[in-house]
Amino acid sequence: MSSEPVERRVSYLGDRLRANRCLICGKEFFEIRDYCGTCGRKSFGKMVNTDLFYEKGKLELCTLINEPTNKFTKLGSYIYGTISFHDGKIRVPGRLTDGTGIGLEEVDFSSLEGREVVPRFRRRYSVEKSEVIPTISLTFTFADEYYPYQEYRIIKPKKEYDTPGIVGYGVYTSKFRIKEGSIERSVPFIDEDSVTAAVEAGKLALIHAGIDNSWIGKVYVGSESNPYAVKPIASKVAQVLKLGQENEDVQGVDAVDTEFACKAATSMFKDAVALVNYPKSNIKYAMVIGADNSQAAPRDCPGGELDLFVGYGAAAFIFGKQDVIAEIEGWYSCTSDTPDFWRRDGEPHPSHGGRFTGDPAYFKHVRMSAKKLMEQLSLQTGDIDYFVAHQPNVQFPVRIAKELGFKEEQYAPMLQVAKFGNTYSGASPVGLAAVLDIAKPDSRILVASYGSGAGSDAYSLMTTSQLLDKRPNQKLTVACQAQNRFLQYVDYTTYRRLKLGM
């Protein structure tokens, strides 16, 4: 039995780790309360809301849980303990996540106590398939491992641009990988899904952009692996990241999910820039996220060929006109009704049209959007520094890049599929982020996404000098996630189990 109002209250507080502080005595409380227990009535109206979402905590005490309660059994063994914030002013219970449980029994727990941890937004525990998925941020990872602690600093905008563009971005993939041949693919931990990835990417994008979360007026989340058929990912992102002005417990932001196979996110780039450019929209910034726990049938089932390539991850881009790092010069989109890849409602895994996904689908549409945009902007391949394409496998993006006349140095930086797998809606956005991570100012980037069904969006971006100013804001770059000494490799069975989730 589920209880939705309870779920609403628990996730409202727990996803963001909402807390508050008494302005009179300075005492802090996890959960929100109207008055301080010590100061009583006089503190009424003098409690300020805070939260611990971007904070760093300390693991104070811990123990091993190897016989969890029923709803946690899919996690196997894990470390559980108490986490303190603000020099011990607030203490909360917490579960350490991203551990497969192997070897935990040999760990000396006193050696872990005192280490710094970061709150992570995850699924809370298992529920029935028909129920609301419970989430929480009372899950933590060590701050000196894969996912570093990063301060969220709001930077006052310095410069207004005529042409809107990207002002910040973030990419999130998990620390788990499956390696088969020369291809590595990211695998979600069992408490992760496309929703948690979308939130993480959005969080990292805010940190990178250095803008106030309340300035975001709209958020789009493109995904084809939303765990719900009805209920947006974007509402969770808006709530957890507190996008737009908060009024009582409601965010003053427009949030919507989009779906067009792997181009669900890139399709919205132009809408986001148009929105921030519309003089009467009052929206300074818009966020677009592509997030997928890419689905594939098991290898021995129909459609199982996809299982060799699917990854897990999300990329978030914030668009605006202030402190732009890459201006959007123009775009071209094309669409046809081409059934090369689909998933019927209620089906767990997508189906695809085999060789039909190639020439008449991917190549035809990517070729058209890229060529048309270059014509439109009178660009030659030589005017373009970097080419980014959708990457469902290793061969397709290379073949189209070569066909369009791009040289290896122009297309090599975008190739991320061999490191993370096909992250579906996040695939070309991750490629774009990888390029932005290394590009110099005044570089032109041509992006051509692809979404089965079928269509492609091509964009031309021109980087600015502020690209370099903001680069130090982000430690968790694409390269850092691709090559990281804390990566953990899993076998095929574990990969399928983790992907299936709690």
Partner: protein, 398 residues
């Protein structure tokens, strides 16, 4: 104290796994024994105070008062609380207020009917935020042990002595349980078995450090001092009773090394009884885990902070049936404690009171203790949740 509530009879069932018995059968069994002892009929009861922690959840029972009314054909006032300590405390208040002369205080729990989900239920009631973060009913005990070790800076030989002392608590309680026909476990265990269970669990505490999951019922009949004089020759008085509360979320508490609620409730209970801590000769502690027994010795004031493990260790080298603490003898958990006697939550406190009453009346048979001074005063500590609520009762024969 103007009116002293007096316990005129006590009874209980065996604790354990009673799959074949419905909850009403258990409570009926206890009531029958208690009513025979007091020579009372149901119609003599003016009110009932019944405790169960979560019987409606575990047994899909509906309102307990209604089910008890049907069972007894009584239409008197009935109140339901979550612990026996709470029921007794409320009954004492009513008697002291002069409202009733004879009331029933009963406790019942049937946990084995919900084996599959019991740990989730327990954890969710005990501390929801910790549950959401993945805590188990055992983990909080282990964290308290970690906190205790760190606070008192225990390492090396001291730490080893503490860990052994905790095992000795379990061994001692099982030894006491062998003399208790009502106990869930009536067999001896060894330190090696306790240590082995920890090793098998790969955790600081193992199966033999924890109280079991149990079914059972306990009942006592409480009367005003005046009514008691007519009904029994051996009244046991509730000299003082007090309760205290603490935060639901264990990690949010100021001090995680002990239970503040226990400390407060004991202080107030002693004060209202006009007793000092060492007037207490026998005590039933709430040993849901061995850590709880150790910490409670300090919370109630028998041991100084950070020293209970040493007193336990010294007393158990050559165990004489009691803890020797700074020259005083303290008989602890003669029933076998929650560890051996069993822990059917709502009825547990009833069994604790049962033991102290039997001891004070010199009716404890094999378990009867003979302190150096005449046995006059005992104490019961019962907790709800993980120290969220504490009840301390001081019982005496004069």
């Amino acid at each position: 104290m103007p009116i002293r509530p007096a316990i005129i009879s006590v009874a209980r069932t065996k604790f354990g796994e009673h799959y074949e018995k419905e909850p009403e059968k258990l409570i009926e069994e206890a009531w029958l024994k208690a009513s025979i002892e007091a020579n009372l009929e149901r119609k003599d009861l003016e009110a009932c105070y019944l405790s169960d922690y979560f019987l409606p959840i575990t047994n899909k029972l509906g309102l307990e008062e209604g089910f008890l009314s049907e069972l007894t054909e009584l239409h008197v006032p009935m109140e339901v609380t979550r612990s026996f300590g709470s029921a007794l405390s409320n009954a004492c208040n009513a008697i002291q207020a002069g409202k009733y002369n004879v009331v029933l205080v009963g406790g019942i729990e049937k946990m084995t009917d919900r084996w599959d989900k019991i740990r989730d239920d327990l954890m969710l009631l005990e501390d929801p935020w910790s549950y959401y973060a993945g805590c188990t009913p055992e983990a909080n005990h282990e964290l308290m042990l970690r906190a205790y070790i760190k606070r008192h800076g225990l390492a090396g030989q001291d730490l080893e002595t503490l860990n052994t002392a905790l095992a000795q608590i379990s061994v001692k309680n099982h030894l006491h349980g062998t003399k208790n026909d009502y106990a869930q476990y009536q067999r001896k265990i060894t330190i090696e078995q306790v240590l082995k269970a920890r090793k098998e669990a790969h955790r600081p505490l193992g199966l033999l450090d924890y109280a079991p999951i149990s079914d059972g019922a306990a009942i006592l009949i409480l009367a005003s001092e005046e009514a008691a004089r007519k009904l029994t020759k051996k009244p046991v008085y509730v000299l003082g009773t007090s309760s205290a509360t603490d935060y639901l979320t264990y990690p949010s508490r100021e001090d995680m090394t002990h239970f503040l609620a226990s400390e407060i409730s004991m202080k107030n209970a002693l004060k209202s009884a006009g007793k000092k801590v060492w007037d207490v000769q026998v005590v039933e502690l709430y040993d849901q885990s061995t850590v709880m027994e150790m910490v409670s010795l300090e919370d109630l004031g028998f041991c100084k902070r950070g020293t209970a493990w040493r007193s336990i260790s010294d007393s158990c080298q050559d165990y004489k049936g009691y803890y020797e603490i700074e020259g005083n003898r303290l008989f602890v958990n003669l029933s076998g404690g929650l560890k051996a006697d069993g822990n059917p939550l709502g009825a547990t406190g009833g069994a604790q009171v049962f033991e102290i009453v039997k001891q004070l009346r010199q009716e404890a048979c094999e378990r009867q203790v003979k302190p150096d001074k005449e046995l006059k005063c005992g104490c019961v500590l019962e907790l709800e949740g993980f120290g969220t609520k504490s009840y301390a009762h001081i019982l005496g024969v004069e």
